[in-house]
Symmetry: C2
Subunit: 655 residues, 2 copies
Amino acid sequence: MNLDQDALCVTTLRMLAADMVEQAQSGHPGMPLGAAPMAFVLWSRFLRHDPSDPGWPDRDRFVLSAGHGSALLYALLHLSGYDLPLDDLKRFRQMGSRTPGHPEHGLTPGVECSTGPLGQGLAMAVGMAWAERQLGERFAVEGQSPLLDHHVYVLASDGDLMEGVAAEAVSLAGHQRLGKLVVLYDDNRISIEGSTDLAFTEDVEARFRACGWQTLTVGDGEDLDAIAAAIELGRAERGRPTLIRVRTVIGHGTPLAGTPTVHGAPLGPARMAETRAYYNWPELSFHIPEEVKAYRAGVIERGMELSQGWAARIAALEASDPARVAAFREALSGVLPEGWDAQLNALEFGDKPVATRVASGKALNALALGLPALIGGSADLAPSNNTHIQDGGSRNLHFGVREHAMAAIVNGMALHGGWIPFCATFLVFSDYMRGAMRLSALMETRVIYVLTHDSVAVGEDGPTHQPIEQVAGLRALPGLTVFRPADANETALSWRLAVAARGPSALILTRQNLPILPANPEGVARGGYVVSACDGIPEITLLASGSEVSLALRVKDRLAGAGHGRVRVVSMPSWELFAAQSAEYRRGVLSAGLRLAIEAGCSMGWHRWVGEEGDVVAVDRFGLSAPGGEAMRAVGMSEEGVLARALELLAGEGG
Amino acid sequence: MNLDQDALCVTTLRMLAADMVEQAQSGHPGMPLGAAPMAFVLWSRFLRHDPSDPGWPDRDRFVLSAGHGSALLYALLHLSGYDLPLDDLKRFRQMGSRTPGHPEHGLTPGVECSTGPLGQGLAMAVGMAWAERQLGERFAVEGQSPLLDHHVYVLASDGDLMEGVAAEAVSLAGHQRLGKLVVLYDDNRISIEGSTDLAFTEDVEARFRACGWQTLTVGDGEDLDAIAAAIELGRAERGRPTLIRVRTVIGHGTPLAGTPTVHGAPLGPARMAETRAYYNWPELSFHIPEEVKAYRAGVIERGMELSQGWAARIAALEASDPARVAAFREALSGVLPEGWDAQLNALEFGDKPVATRVASGKALNALALGLPALIGGSADLAPSNNTHIQDGGSRNLHFGVREHAMAAIVNGMALHGGWIPFCATFLVFSDYMRGAMRLSALMETRVIYVLTHDSVAVGEDGPTHQPIEQVAGLRALPGLTVFRPADANETALSWRLAVAARGPSALILTRQNLPILPANPEGVARGGYVVSACDGIPEITLLASGSEVSLALRVKDRLAGAGHGRVRVVSMPSWELFAAQSAEYRRGVLSAGLRLAIEAGCSMGWHRWVGEEGDVVAVDRFGLSAPGGEAMRAVGMSEEGVLARALELLAGEGG
């Protein structure tokens, strides 16, 4: 250990972060100034990573859950030799830079996940640690060291620890005994509104211990050796995750140290000058001493040694056990294995009505046979969501009633690599995990949300359990592909598309049985297609998704009985896929005539597809507790209700 | 205590609940069978309520957080003499009954809040207990006993305690030292997927103690006296909330006792018979022994004594302190006091641009002067949300970074009565509290959501902090009135409407400054109005909300310069209010010509207002980190971008 170099590096991190905020005239200097020592100890003495290969599969993961401290992360990446030159640091928070206001996965090398929405970073880290352990088990051979063996480190703030999503994840991490997870808690006792005494006086360590964690305290966040000793103990404890509470001072070294004012605003030139004086630092922005440059070179060299050592070990193993290593490499690549969908494609649903949640369970199980990377579970609703993998062993995850952490954890698993995770709950409780679903979309993680019990047809459980606005809300989320399949065949095809997708998907499924329709793989892949055509130009086209497609088909029959023979029915399982088709294809499917949309959910968004002359039969109110069929009729989801509206439209009473 | 009567009552509760589920062929018998003893002890020996006056202000509150156990609650209400006859119990979960699948506030007398979405009941109870204490303080006179002095009791399940929203609320309740809150935890060790060992092995009591709670254990959930002794200790501890863990057996007395199977399905005739035999119960459905009827009469009588005693005390006080009692009565009535909006109406914003979040802070403070019932705060963002009440004292609540619990807590405060609560965070983090916002809408609680930083104009904080889909998602929620005001005047008017509203409102506010527009109270009250008219029929009408109204006005000027003089600009601060206007009014505002909508959020829903010939300039992608103006331009929110699209439309290039 070179103590002078250490001290210089810590001050460099601090001043770089302060300089970045000052240059941007925007950002959060307080946390980096307080937490730089613990971050540096972790990165310099423990973190196993290769700055020249940020994707090295066996690297330790570092998650800055307190994403507002991004300037600290960028300074760490720069000092460690990642491809993030000083010019990027100088363009902090500017258009097109790789140093955005909060860390963004995919934009900056070395950023493991997008953080800023508090609590989720910690929950994603739990997912990463869980993924690591599961992957180790999957490729384990007795008597040999595991193919992957790395830690997940988190830097978290009091804001992270107040969030419910983190509390859920903490409980689950303790339950799962994720020993390779080490959380550094930057305990600066300051939140935006003032002292944490205003709202956060719980005994954090006792809470974590109650959840099965090891807890350690470092009384002085400037004491590098004490921090190192605690991390060492965290690494040594393999049976429990570890929380290390480190007492720090927000905005350390500035005239505003220890106050909320320093949390989220530039210091200004006068205070910057005082801070430089405090640290005995030259009057230069973005100054990096020579000793620090030497440190940087050392990190790069050590990183290459580490990753090359691992690669050599895997290569050596390849000679003796080529199949295992090939499967391991394939899993890490994320590429779907040969024949992954063979069992799915062979599925036959017969001709008896089946709930799409049941069809989904069959599709999932068919896929699981050809896709060892498929892993997941439910927030304690597996029997209702039909998400159990038969003989799936530890691929069946039990999240407990913790929807938000569940979604964040599957994000973490997808980010870790080696897995295609899914998770499940009732559609109405997707509300509890919107925050993490948004990060799925933003980070483009390949996760599959299985959301069952998708309408008022849920029935007796009543309005608290009957989704109304959820499908619209999910369709509004950029980057999420929403599927609301009309029958078992569309369900299997949706699963196929979701697994092959680049980003996240949501499968919206019924509790109740639905008739089987002819399979139309191309139609589903295009997001919308003609289910039932007619001769000539349609008088009216009925647009629907999910359970309302068969309702539309019945209405078509009723319309024929009322003398309207030219009726088309269109299924729109995925608006996102349909919107991505050519205008010509879309016009061809929608037809030029009158259009009536039918959906057992709110009308929001359907006017886009029906046009001004058209109309929407939807449910813009809460539901009610009654048997499903009765409840649906009560909210207008019935042959009679839709038929009446269709006849009005045909009679010229426009929407 | 009549022990025979007690035992008969407990068995009656159990068998009524099982009968209800059996009759409905739907529902959850497991929890009522296990938790009936503790519920009965609480209701018979402690709960101060008046079944003949369910709205008695000083009643103890009982919250069934485990709402799936609704049959138990209905049985309790029936046995206690509430207006819920046996016929209602026989129509459990049927159309139009007052015994829906999950408890619904407003539908059934004695149901304090709608529960079912797990964790929220406990969080709402925290809000009720907080409201009680604050109300006591507000009307306190030294040396006199408080006008209100009641407890809040909760029956919670393991599912409740796994949820993050409950964890947040537990931490805050301990911090606030809410001594009148007593939670009975039905520890049956069974969740839907199996034993709680699958996912929930934390030391719940230690976690609660870490959060400042008293914790007690009852080892045998059949031991009425042990339960009573624990509740007594809970009541005696005034400085901390109390958790009582009661070990129970799910589905007690049935052949399925102790298994997940009994959680959520009818027992069936054979198992019902075995259960009746176990409890030595006659072969009759909905049987109520004579002793139990006598118990019922006693509860009614005692309840009337309690509430009349309280009423007499208040009446006596009225003679000596009429002003205080009048104010107290007014607060409880929820009616707005004379002149409540005088200060708001007198607000002047001048002519300099001002952020609507800043205008909101001024409106809030103006209202607070005339509305002592206004109470609230932020999830640790008060300085950014501008939600601090000057000299507001304890009316300023500090929720910490706990959005979901915050929203549930304000629901609980509104349900308790005496307060008009508001809460605040960044709009993008409304995602974290969707679950509770939905319950606001479903229960029609008058709560006001202050959601600032409403678009990509947030700027440097980047896409994790820039809302895109949130406004659409909130507009999709039935029963929530969403306001996106265009300037300071619209903001003040929106506040006025929100306070006077029957149900919940959301105020969507900018971080950045916006020009001041002419005030149009009637236009805002109608949800949409013409901000800038033109001679003759408009060639094109620009529709916008919030910050895009002034953008539309600038585009109108540019269009005039390009030879298009007949341009109308419409502000649509609230779709819900606009949709409620007559078709004639709406047509008059929207005009018959081309329409172009502009909004710095996703386009979802706008097609309804622009028609097939029209178009929408919106942001159907995530944002980016850069100064706000640059970020807005990059996503097309600029004069140039909108002007170009308007000119295309005018040139006949349709949407």
